[in-house]
Amino acid sequence: MLRFVLRRTALVLPSLLGLLLVTFLLIHAVPSDPAAALAGDAATPEQIARLRHQYGFDRPIFEQFLLYLDKVAHLDFGESAFSHRPVTLDIAQRLPATLELTFCALALSVFVGVPLGVMAALNHNAWPDYLLRIFSVLGIAMAAFWVAIMLQLLFSMQLGWLPLRGELSSTMAQPPRATGFLVVDCLIAGRWDAFADALRHLALPAVTLALGGLATIVRFTRAGVLDTLQQDFVFYERAMGYRWLRLVWIFVLRNSVTATVTQIGLLFGGLIAGGVVVEAIFDWPGIGSYTVQAILTGDRQVMLAVTLLVGTVYAAVNILVDLVHGLLDPRLMEQG
């Protein structure tokens, strides 16, 4: 198992390098002046020129890339033109909030999506299936930023049930930072009031993010179950008098979720990226709102770092997905 993980990691590194190179080239091929952006609006041409030289923006692009790579190898992503702090520090501080939100959204979409997908498959080409298909498409078709605003409008502004934005009420004292995951930190500190408050803040952004993932999970579960129901062993198990509910929810489902698990892996990357706008709307102090800031201010260091981060998370999650596949299907484990 350890060998498997190490080998997969070794395979991933060249891809990450490629990812960085392509992003670097794309971002630098664009006609705009990073030094000017870094220097700010009030800078004189001399100041800009000095910065340009200092950061090596006047060197050939490939040399710049090698320089950048050397820094990245030391986990140095440069300085954010916006916050004027090291990008690495900013990201380390904001990553837990994003992961917390993403995990919650993912859990929501899996626990709701898998049962719905199974139900759609069992009613293949009948009204429940049609309705679920339409609803799942609805989830994909809704612009996340619009859903976010609509939820705010309804649950925060009109009904006043849930907070409008942020991670914690301003009147609530922060629990001491232990893991960086606010909900976990509240539990560690035994702060039940803060815990409930944090959950209430988590609800709307998590639901917004979960909607898109939900649709994907429903579709792939449906397709997987439909495929499995065609298999001979399902007829055999029925002929042997398996209880129908156990047959579907245990014996069929475990054969059907391979594709769904793959999708969960893909989704995780998608959710982090999709969270960009949602975080911005809910003022969620994570990577997403950081990215939006960076984009609006043309902050290249942050853009590059975020791309690499998402790519890395994506790769890591997919290694995990392969492991889960091995656990679900013994035949894959033997192939190694």
Binding site: Q231, D232, F233, F235, Y236, E237, R238, A239, M240, G241, Y242, R243, W244, R246, F251, R254, N255, L328, D329, P330, R331
Partner: protein
Amino acid sequence: MMPLLSVRGLKVTIRTDEGTAQVLDDVGLDLERGRILGVVGESGCGKSTLIRAIMGILPRAGAVERGEIWFEGENLLSFSEAELARDVRSSRIGFIPQDPLLALNPVFKVGSQLLEVMRWHAPSDGTRGSERRKRHVGRLIGLLKRLQVPDPEGALERYPHQFSGGQRQRLLIAAALACSPRLLIADEPTTALDVTTQHQILLLLRELVAELAVSLLFVTHDFGVVAELCDDLCVIYAGQTVESGPVRSILDSPAHPYTRALLACHPDRATSFRGIPGSVPSPLAPPPGCRFAPRCGDVRAICSAGNPPQARAESGAEVRCVQYSDWSADLLVRSHES
């Protein structure tokens, strides 16, 4: 006394995109207690559909239009799906499938699959919980030993793909017998195996049927297997029973032209290696009258006029062919009356 299993005038249709397929049309058979009944017919004649109808698991688009299926004095067609699943399958009717690799769930251990069946269907002996489970494991291991599966304890802990084809088929026979059913139904269980393994398994099956006093409904397209294993025979063509009776008498003097043609193709008897010319008609558009007429060497005008009724041949077998009935006279009488 009534036979253990008796199918009467069974008609099954399946709706498809191209229309309604008449997959079974007037199938009948009788299986006496303690005997082995072979069901023979070319591929596509409806043998598997017959089994599915008996077990109550037709495809979603399928339906029993007419007929009766009597089993131990009860009409199975009057049972609900829940009743069949709870009281009939495994506990009273054991099933041995065609392809042992495809039939086992690939991602569960063999043991957990077999014990799942016993958990719901093994006859109660007063024990409960882990005690009951232990007894089930014990019975399974005994059966696997009897079926000559090497290392029975270890076998339960392994996955289906870790066995050879012959071993897998033994596992499935053990599964079918695990809950002591009165009837075994096997759908071409040896087609996927090589000749030697096939022979061993048939031998085992015959011994077990005698030992455990079960009856066996054995579907095959191979007359060699029928001769080796079966007591009675039922020949099916295009969804209809065309000849049925004791194996010996049918093999000695086949009456129906289809039976004769099948036997003529069998490698042990064939003078030349040719199948029956033509192919099984599509159940979407069966030919009028006798369904075998387009391929029959003895065909005459009257054959296409209507469905030939059952008649008794000199061998004692029931035959569906105008050559053995006074049906032509019947038809004349009827047409005069109208």
